[in-house]
């Protein structure tokens, strides 16, 4: 649903609810009681639900993740002009949806993956506003990056399964699939969000 519709819905619901409170004597009649039920129960519930789904959708957007200043550098790493940087390569070549770039790679593709992502988001807020945000260079994942996030898209892909780098050691692929060897380990796809070296990097400028 477009945001403008959600906003209009909220405005209309609020106005009708406040109107019923202002003209409370209307609720003495039968029609007034029906109006009160619509204004004070049905419409608010519907407006809150549409607002909630809009908020949940926004919470997966790149704009949302990068809205905190401390994440600026991480956003810039998506534009590094060097294909050895995994996030930049994925972002610039549309291998992930740009509008949901962070969420696509940093959510777990499991039954409660979305819920866990929201819980982590709350923890981010706690760290940001209560404990004090660390320097961008000091920000680390709470847990090692699981291969399942990469395998969600790459598993079964010809380039992944038959690529020479992935088959130079006999059991490499099986260890990767079993999450015993990280995709982002040293010697593999080790360049990710290296915010400490941003000042030395060149950046891709998207053609308008």
């Amino acid at each position: 649903m477009p945001v403008s519709v959600v906003l209009l819905f909220c405005v209309a619901a609020a106005v009708i609810a406040l109107f019923v409170g202002y003209r409370v004597e209307l609720t003495r009649s039968r029609e007034g009681k029906i109006l009160a039920f619509v204004a004070l129960f049905a419409l608010p519930v519907m407006a809150a639900w549409t607002g909630f789904s809009e908020q949940m959708d926004r919470a997966t957007s790149t704009r949302f993740c990068l809205s905190c200043h401390v994440m600026d550098g991480f956003g810039r790493t998506l534009y590094i002009d060097d294909p050895s940087y995994v996030p930049a390569r994925h972002f610039q070549n549309n291998r992930i949806p740009r509008d949901h770039a962070c969420y696509t790679c940093h959510t777990e593709y499991s039954m409660f993956g979305g819920v866990k992502a929201k819980a982590r988001g709350l923890r981010h807020l706690w760290v940001q506003y209560v404990l004090g945000a660390p320097k961008p260079e000091a920000i680390k994942l709470y847990d090692p990056f699981p291969n399942s996030e990469c395998l969600h898209c790459h598993l079964g892909a010809r380039r992944f399964e038959e690529g020479s780098a992935h088959n130079k050691v006999p059991d490499l692929l099986s260890r990767v699939k079993a999450n015993k060897l990280s995709c982002v380990s040293s010697g593999c796809h080790e360049f990710v969000h290296d915010v400490a070296s941003l000042k030395d990097d060149t950046f891709w400028k998207e053609k308008q």
């Binding site: 619901a13 004070l40 809150a48 908020q55 905190c68």
Partner: protein
């Protein structure tokens, strides 16, 4: 003013306030707006709805 009507008035005020907070939170894309929606807007609205439903019970 009867108690029931007073409750409905309070319910409408709480629901209106909750919806306005929700509306304001939808104008900004930021984690704090998301928290404002969940922690302020929704509880205000929920309190209003509960008050309205209680007024119906008391009316009977």
């Amino acid at each position: 003013m009867e108690t029931v009507e007073r409750r409905i008035k309070w319910a409408s005020f709480l629901i209106g306030a909750g919806l306005l907070v929700q509306l304001a939170s939808l104008l900004v894309v930021h984690p704090l707006a998301f928290m404002g929606f969940l922690m302020i807007g929704c509880p205000l609205m929920l309190a209003g709805i509960v008050m309205y439903l209680l007024s119906l019970i008391h009316e009977k």
